[in-house]
Amino acid sequence: MANTTKLNVIYGDETLGLSGPGFHYIFAYDRRGLESLVQYGKEWLYRTPNPAFWRATTDNDRGNGFSTKSASWLGADLFSACTQIDVAVDGQPIQLPIAPVNNQYSDHETATTVAVKFTYTTTTTPATTASVEYIVDGTGKINVNVHYNGATGLPELPAFGLRLVMPTAATGFDYQGLSGETYPDRQAGGRPGTYHVDGLPVTPYMVPQECGMHMKNDWVKVTRATTLNNADPDHQPFSLTIRQTGHPFAFSCLPYTPEELESATHIEELPPVRRTVLTIFGAVRGVGGIDSWGADVEPQYHIAGDIDHDFSFEIAGVTD
């Protein structure tokens, strides 16, 4: 049965607030993204989520020159800008409701769904676009649709995903997928099941590199026990769940961004664990293994830059 709970819509001057029992989300036009994701009083976002275009160079990537060939995606990962924001209410596009357009609204606006879509223009040459659309309903559930526009001339992608950085380090995560760290070309040994991981382990490769990938997941639930909110003395664990919507997804849940991993030559150089970096991937490049001085990842495990890539998932609401 369709959920008929209505969303409260707050047409702010710089933001769009969406709330219901147990949740409150803020899309910020000035921050150009989903700024706040609060469930049961706990903030889940440190900064606005952005498309993920980079992975920390693996030893094999270095050996075969992949990072050199695809280096423009490192810039795109760090510096691609949101160049367009679109809002739709109950499926109908509306004019971006920033001041003074928002003067037409009241303090008791509601909707069944609100969709906010951020379009990013990459820093690559040629440039292309990628978009992230969030569709929120009255339960607080967010359907996320991520799209990459392929463009001729772009190098292969190291990764394509959406990166959510959380304000504090998770105590751990649970997921239904494959055992261990898996990649498209290294997942046959992964046993399907439901797994718990304590903390945010970084696989201790001698030189820090891409790690912690989990392929073929139905869901992942991240659990934290602390916030940055000075008025929140509560240390009871609380969780956020991501679910698949039709297609299993890949994710990694680490304390670092790829750029932080990229910069270290030893694991002890990585900064203290402060945050949680949950990246949901729609496309993962294989790691390869034939050799570490030139052999490419096998072709079927590449991510082409000149074709479109799409993936979707949902951030679970509070009543389901």
Binding site: T58, N60, Y205, C211, E268
Partner: protein, 628 residues
């Protein structure tokens, strides 16, 4: 005889006064000792030794072996161990080039001509560090009034030995046991043993393995007493008939006596419940050839590593038991049939790994616990084979492989990578050993040491001539040696693929490293002469091991594809104290200011250096499990 430092420079001097290599059996004084595996005839010299370090030969304490030398300024050093890990000498990790790359221009002796002996290269080498070791000992009662030899299981890279001020002998070949007769030099009460260890000699050219470069007495040292009658050597051949039903046991014993070779030799074969199924009694003789037929023999293989026990008991003329030698025996037949390697009539599939000896605290001085753990990892992950890259391992590892049914590619201590591969290209202009007569005896001696020591291990299926040393007459001579002495095994050598002129003379199998799956398939499709083995594949550096099925898929398609050995088993990194936080951290090449270095290239293991498995191990378990 006088010790000459010039031996360091001469590839033709690599063993002086060493006893001949022989089987790795152990003698016990009684049956009870043999059962308990604690021989009263053995006295360990492991532990604390007096030690002095010199940065080069010119600064070494000349004459330190004299009994009246003033060693009051010597330190203490634990044996076994590497000198560098005790804080003396710089740690260095380097792959293909020689450790003096960019510091000294060198060409191996005679490589640029018979008139180019390169005298003084190592004896006056300003970076050839020297360790002077001294150990005092008094013989245990059980060793007194017997012939006594000393066994060095591993000394890197050249050693001179003195006892009570008298020169005993000289050895190279870091990874083979070196044994010397001490009997003429022993005295009642305190004895002063002195070992001078040089980091480099001409052996350096043959020991260019991709690894941390260390020096010192890094494996155990022991005194071994020989009773009045003693088994010097034994060769056990335990085969099976064409129907794989009736075992054929042949035993050759070589005995020695303190004076007259008289007495009795009892030899039994016990099954795994200790029941004797064959016994023979013979008069003692210098050489004894025995044979037996074993009905319904229980064969040895990976899944059922059934071991019988051969028990040799020597009695003197009065009938008193003087020595018991037990040895585990596995009956199996390994052969090439229709260009496919078969074990007991079944096609051999190698689900293998390359294993360097490594312990992140101790370097290559691995412990029994390390070895036991490694065997457990093999068992849990369907790993059925190991290549002892690129040198003979500790003796115990071969016994463990016998007991656990792990097929061994037993490799010589040989890698001369830096003499023929430069900047990644084949460039053998000064390759050793090549076809140089001045280097041939050294590599043949390595082959002989490997064969003699490990010839009785059922686990050893394949002798490997070495790694990445190009190909020439000298390696062809090694191949011939193995075939001459051992009809029960096959030979392996990858380097012949770099010089196909020797294809008929070197290696019973086609071996490649890191060949792409489609290139291997191309070989297999074209009526090849030899079965194919990946001596190294799936380079597991960092986050790797993707696409393994492209190799394992070949197993079911091509009978002549016989699997391979993943590179490699464990990351090589060292625990050190972080200079900033004081916390223990793992460090790799270049982290010790060592230059020229190869940095993280030593991190290719299925295990991290601390022996925790990498995530990729579950993939190995899966694919190796498909053909286990």
């Amino acid at each position: 005889m006088k010790a000459e430092i010039s031996w360091l420079d001469d590839p033709q001097t690599f063993r002086v006064n060493q006893l001949p290599a022989h089987s790795d059996h152990r003698g016990y004084a009684t049956v009870a000792e043999a059962l308990a595996k604690r021989s009263s005839l053995v006295q360990s010299l492991d532990g604390s030794w007096e030690f002095s370090f010199a940065k080069d030969p010119q600064h070494r304490p000349v004459g330190f072996y004299e009994t009246d030398y003033d060693r009051s300024d010597f330190d203490q050093l634990t044996v076994p161990g590497h000198i560098e890990l005790a804080g003396y000498g710089q740690i260095q990790y380097i792959n293909t080039t020689y450790p003096w790359e960019g510091k000294y221009y060198r060409r191996p002796a005679y490589s640029m001509g018979a008139d180019r002996p390169e005298k003084g290269m190592f004896s006056t080498d300003p970076e050839n560090t020297v360790g002077a070791y001294v150990k005092h000992f008094t013989l245990d009662t059980a060793l007194q009034n017997k012939r006594v030899s000393i066994e060095f299981d591993g000394v890197e890279q050249a050693m001179y030995l003195w006892l009570n001020g008298q020169f005993v002998g000289y050895a190279e070949d870091s990874f083979s046991r070196s044994e010397f007769d001490l009997t003429p030099y022993l005295q009642a009460g305190d004895n002063v043993l002195a070992v001078e260890v040089f980091k480099h000699s001409t052996a350096a050219y043959l020991e260019d393995q991709d690894m941390f470069r260390f020096s010192g007495i890094f494996r155990s040292v022991r005194l071994v007493a020989k009773p009045a009658l003693h088994v010097e050597d034994m060769t056990i051949r335990a085969g099976v008939d064409d129907d794989f039903v009736t075992g054929d046991l042949r035993v050759n014993l070589k005995l020695s006596a303190v004076d007259k070779l008289v007495g009795a030799v009892n030899v039994s074969l016990l099954n795994d419940t200790g029941e004797a199924i064959w016994t023979t009694e013979n008069e003692a003789a210098a050489t004894l050839d025995l044979s037996a037929t074993i009905n319904h023999v229980h064969l040895w293989n990976h899944h059922d590593p059934y071991l019988y026990q051969l028990q040799v008991e020597l009695r003197d003329a009065t009938g008193e038991l003087v020595e018991v030698v037990p040895y585990q025996v596995g009956f199996r037949r390994f052969e090439m049939k229709n260009k496919v390697m078969e074990l007991n009539g079944q096609r051999l599939i190698l689900n293998g790994v390359n294993r360097h000896e490594w312990d992140a605290h101790r370097g290559r001085a691995v412990t029994q616990a390390d070895m036991d753990y490694d065997q457990q990892i093999f068992k849990e992950n369907h790993i059925n084979a190991v290549r002892t890259c690129h040198y003979p391992d500790q003796d115990e590892w071969y016994h463990l492989c016998d007991r656990n049914g792990i097929y061994m590619m037993a490799e010589n201590n040989l890698e001369s990578h830096g003499t023929w591969q430069k900047m990644g290209a084949v460039e053998p202009s000064y390759n050793v050993p090549g076809s140089l007569p001045q280097w041939q005896l050294a590599v043949l001696d390595r082959a002989k040491s490997n064969y003699e020591m490990f010839k009785n291990h059922p686990a050893v299926l394949i002798w490997s001539l070495g790694n990445e040393s190009y190909a020439g007459d000298d390696i062809a001579a090694m191949d011939k040696y193995y075939h001459d002495v051992d009809p029960t095994r096959l030979t392996h050598y990858e380097g012949v693929c770099r010089n196909r002129d020797y294809a008929d003379r070197i290696s019973d199998m086609e071996s490649m490293m890191y060949d792409h799956p489609d290139a291997i398939e191309e070989y297999l499709k074209n009526d090849p002469a030899k079965p194919f083995v990946n001596c190294e594949y799936m380079h597991d550096m960092g986050n790797s091991l993707g696409g393994m099925n492209s190799y394992t898929d070949l197993i079911d398609k091509y009978p002549m594809y016989q699997g391979g050995f993943i590179w490699d088993y464990i990351d090589q990194a060292l625990w050190v104290k972080d200079e900033v936080t004081g916390q223990p951290v793992l460090r790799y090449g270049g982290d010790f200011d060592d230059r020229h270095a190869n940095y993280e290239f030593s991190g290719d293991g299925l295990l991290f250096a601390d022996r925790t498995p990498k995530p990729a191990l579950q993939e190995v378990d899966y694919y190796y499990g498909q053909h286990d």
